[in-house]
Amino acid sequence: MADCVFRVGGEGGEGVISTGELLTLTLARAGYEIYTFRTYPAEIKGGHANYQVRASDKLLLSQGAQVDVLVAFNEEAYQKHIKDLRSGGVLLYDADSFTPPPADSAIFYGIPLTSLATEKVGVKLTKNIVSLGVMSSLFDIPIETFEELLKERFGRKGETVVQKNLQALRVGYDYIKTQQKKDAIRLGPGPRQAKELVMSGNESLALGAIASGLKFYFGYPITPATDIMEFLAKELPKIGGFVVQTEDEISALGAVLGASFSGAKAMTATSGPGFSLMIEMLGLAEMSETPAVVVDVQRVGPSTGMPTKTEQGDLYLAVYGGHGSCPRVVLALSSVEDCFYGIMQAFNIAERFQMPVIVLSDQYLGHRKATVPKPDPSRVQIINRLAPTAEELKAGYKRYRFTDSGVSPMAVPGTEGGHYVAEGLEHDEIGYPAASNHENHLRMTEKRYKKFQAVEAIANELVNLYGVEHPEIGIIGWGSSEGVIREAVQMAVDQGYSVGALHPKILYPQPLAKLRPFIEGAKAVIIPELNYTGQFATLLRKRFALDFIQLNKVIGLPFTPREIFDKIVEVAEHVRAGRRNLAARV
């Protein structure tokens, strides 16, 4: 079984990211499943950058625990990452840049990357491509695939650039052939025949939005959500839509509501600071019953926080941000593939129930790439908003008519007889302001919450379950931690633990029919979250008497399967010892 974690590290601007990307695509095309992980500095030039690529012949659920191959372009990269290199792993380093102290635990290859690039290729910047040539030869990764990619990638820059890069690849490839191979890593062609897409979470989400019928994207640049806007700016015109960059995030969501009011599907994406600005517009969407999709690719907060690092800290804001009683839906995306289908669900819920849907992703998911089977949009049937009938338009159309479902038909401007005023003030059935009618406010609030209750019913379908179905130890996670938790659960089950994980993809309203038996049947429930206070655990404590065991991590990095696994083992010991006070925070 092949399962190999590569990590490339160096100075920002040294080609770390492009090395990682080329390796990713080559391994994917060679037939491997891929799971990448990126951390990069907030600065544009300089600062430490690294890119991790995990390749395997089976489905990958996490970035991996240890590193098999570390490529260090400079000493800082070596010092930062050598501790993660597994015993017997391989270190490839630029021998022109530094010399690491000898170690028995790993296999070292010192390659004069800089001088090979300068002297043999004549372009110092190609040292990262030289390193790819080395890896191609050393680990038996098809060089033809690298060559094909370099031609595609640099073709636009002219033949000279292509030739220099191909030459650099060969220089590395030939150089290492003269050295003794000391390690046992050999990949060769991967098992998968069918081509899969290699996409980031943000790209998958944007693609899913297009498949949902998105026509407008309004947005303001913000890390780590900007690439959604950039992708759509390029691709949306091909389908029949476009992107407008607005002056701020308030305007972005305002324009989404305007476009949606006019009958078009529209969305915006942002991160915490921008999402904070959108809160008043969310309230307007709720009150005026205008469908809208808002994506929050979370990063470390509060305030500007750590813009390029990951966290799950915006859940409270997504659920509770706003004044008044706010019927809204909060979804959390769990994997690169789920980004595609999850955003389609978001559009369907927004359209069907005429309310805002907040979709939580994060930097870890948004920026990591994975191989995914070609998405099939027909798997999610597209739902469009309810329109008034010809009879309703003839006889005194009421935009906010009380109905059994709480959903009232929504006319599109340009329709004769359908004119109404979408209201941010409390209003009556017609849409006339009713800011002093107390009983009407109660009825209207109930109408809006009827829609929310209807979402509760479908929430129970948006849940994944892994491991033991009725476990002794349950895990409830959310969002991008799904794969990591799933891998940890598998490790624990393999060792005989009674462990299962429930992973809701909708956090508000909650899938109570699924949560209740799971929680009540378990002896202990762990809730791992990348935030300090346990935001989802707090939401669940409102619903269930059990005091959940929180596992919180707030260093701007995702969980590893090992961390979750260790927690399972620890809790299992408490359970076996019959200790009642499991809730001690760790």
């Binding site: 081509k195 899969e196 897409l197 290699v198 996409m199 790209e203 693609l207 297009i210 498949a211 019928g213 026509k215 407008f216 015109p237 091909k238 389908i239 029949g240 839509g241 476009f242 407008v244 607005t246 002056e247 701020d248 308030i250 305007s251 972005a252 969501l253 305002g254 324009a255 989404v256 509501l257 305007g258 476009a259 949606s260 009011f261 006019s262 009958g263 078009a264 529209a266 008043e280 517009m281 307007l284 005026s288 070609k374 998405p375 949009p377 599109v412 401007p413 340009g414 329709t415 004769e416 007889g417 359908g418 004119h419 109404y420 005023v421 979408a422 209201e423 941010g424 006339y432 302001p433």
Partner: protein, 285 residues
């Protein structure tokens, strides 16, 4: 030609008797009737404030949204269906205070829509605080010793930000106001109609008689609206003589003109070219 009453909503305006906004509403209904635009093809978007209640009093589609945020909503609605006649409306606090950021950027984007600001130089709905256009040294509930800062100049601001139709009216000059609005709606591009719309309850300084003593019409002095420099000079006239009328008008391609996706009609009516989705996916293989 359509009749004014076709544009009258079923709700009676809740403005104070004598409020300048009555004149603005009448002028707008007159302009729409003269232009014969069917009510179901008109959208009036507003913010919050006395004047922002206007969409409820007019028979058309409306969006009565958030304080200061009428322009983003109007822009989104216009882009989705650019065959609609889109009019944003609100007050000076709404447009030049809390919504100033949206105002300047909407000017430079040159969407084909009209923005009517009912400028009473005071916050009326909150019962009388200083606004961005309150003159210096005026005592209000929030400035009992008089305002310290100088007022914002909406006409000059719109000119510098790239608005392609910049006019100012007075609700006491209804015929001229209706004509300015007609010109604004007919103009291809972003049109500002700033209107002196006196607040009879909370602004005891800028009253009808105060304006009547000072205003003069630009058209009476042979002002050339094609002359940007002249428009700028007129924009800074204040005090004993205050100009109303059309300051500036220029043809420049609108945002909608320049957006290729809109060339084959309103996007809301265009079918999705789903087959192209497969081609987009190919890029990730």
């Amino acid at each position: 030609m359509a009749q004014v009453k076709e544009y009258q909503g079923l709700v009676k305006p809740d403005w104070c008797p004598g409020c300048g906004d009555f004149g603005v509403l009448n002028a707008l209904q007159r302009a729409l009737a003269d232009l014969d635009i069917a009510p179901h093809n008109v959208l009036v978007v507003s913010g919050i404030g006395c004047s922002s209640n206007l969409p409820g009093f007019i028979r058309a589609y409306g969006f009565h949204g958030l304080h200061g945020r009428s322009l983003p909503v109007a822009a989104g609605a216009k882009l989705a269906n650019h065959e609609l006649t889109v009019i944003a409306a609100g007050g000076d606090g709404d447009g030049y205070g809390i919504g100033a950021g949206h105002f300047i950027h909407t000017c430079r984007r040159n969407f084909n829509m009209t923005y009517i600001v009912m400028d009473n130089q005071i916050y009326g709905l909150t019962t009388g605080q200083a606004s961005p256009t309150t003159e210096k040294d005026i005592r209000t509930k929030s400035t009992p010793e008089g305002t310290i800062e100088i007022p914002l100049n909406p006409v000059a601001l719109a000119l510098t930000c790239g608005a392609t139709y910049v006019a100012r009216g007075f609700s006491g000059e209804n015929l001229q106001l209706a004509n300015l609005m007609k010109g604004a709606i007919e103009h291809k591009g972003f049109a500002l109609v700033d209107v002196f719309s006196p607040c009879v309850t909370y602004n005891k300084h800028n009253t009808y008689p105060w304006f009547k003593e000072r205003i003069y019409k630009l058209e009476d002095e042979k002002h050339d609206p094609a002359n940007f420099q002249a428009a700028m000079e007129r924009a800074f006239e204040w005090g004993n003589r205050i100009p109303i009328g059309l300051f500036f008008k220029v043809e420049r391609p609108t945002y909608e003109d320049e957006e290729p996706a809109l060339r084959s009609g309103p996007l809301v009516r265009q079918p999705l070219r789903r087959t192209n989705l497969a081609a987009v996916m190919e890029e990730f293989l």
